[in-house]
């Protein structure tokens, strides 16, 4: 997993909390910075894909590891 500037642990949170928290975290970050998100909600995979498409923030990586879903989103 590449470097990231901030981390958001959304484990145990279900739709729509992971993307809502991510939006809040990204709002406080500068453009170009990367947010690492950890989630346990399987629905979050598609949610983050849609989130990236809709908001223009880049979904750099999306993977599953040890039962958790990990995402890297770069703020546009």
């Amino acid at each position: 997993m590449a470097d990231f500037d901030e981390e958001l642990d959304a484990s145990g949170l279900n739709c729509p909390l992971p993307i809502l928290r991510a939006k809040k975290a990204l709002a406080g970050m500068d453009a170009g910075k990367v947010l690492h998100i950890i989630a346990t909600d399987p629905g979050s995979v598609k949610d983050f894909e849609a989130f990236a498409r809709q908001t223009g923030n880049e979904l750099m990586e999306s993977m599953e590891e040890g039962g958790k879903f990990l995402f890297l989103i770069k703020k546009a």
């Binding site: 279900n14 909600d41 809709q54």
Partner: protein, 159 residues
């Protein structure tokens, strides 16, 4: 990229009908939509400071009950005293155990995300409701005000 608009009319006041408007609005907002919810009739219950919403299987044949009971549980029995309170309590426990946000939290997230919450003035007058019983930060207006936004919306939902 022009911001898309989502307009929702919330007309129901039971626990099961309360989640969709707040979840849809907060999610849309996270995706960059400009969102407005117009609460009318029983939807006004969702704007009360103290939320005390119920859910009942009575008249709700689609509502699942534990252990597949809904397949054979007689409708008449769902009208028994205590059934509504029990089902409401079970539903709330289920929501909590599955990590679903509470209604208060979802509503707060909506307001934080600048979703506009509008209470139908006519309904407030109709049911003699006290404006002080509602949460802060909402607007009181009529249908015409809602149409101003709804007319421009990309998505308009009736809940």
């Amino acid at each position: 990229m022009d911001e898309k608009k989502l307009a929702i009319i919330a007309t129901k006041g039971s626990l099961d009908w309360a989640y969709p408007p707040f979840i849809l609005a907060s999610t849309a907002s996270a995706l960059g939509y400009e969102t407005e919810i117009f609460f009318t009739f029983y939807g006004l219950q969702l704007l009360k400071k103290e939320l005390d919403l119920k859910v009942t299987p009575l008249g709700n044949p689609g509502m699942p009950m534990p252990g597949g009971m809904e397949k054979w549980f007689p409708t008449l029995l769902t009208a028994l005293p205590g059934m509504e309170a029990m089902m409401t309590s079970m539903m709330k426990k289920k929501m909590a155990s599955k990590g679903v946000a509470s209604l208060e939290e979802l509503r707060e997230l909506c307001q934080e995300a600048e979703v506009r919450l509008i209470a139908c003035q006519m309904t407030v007058d109709l049911f003699d409701m006290d404006p002080a019983a509602f949460v802060e930060g909402i607007e009181f207006a009529g249908a015409a005000r809602f149409f101003e936004f709804a007319g421009e919306s990309d998505i308009c939902l009736y809940i």
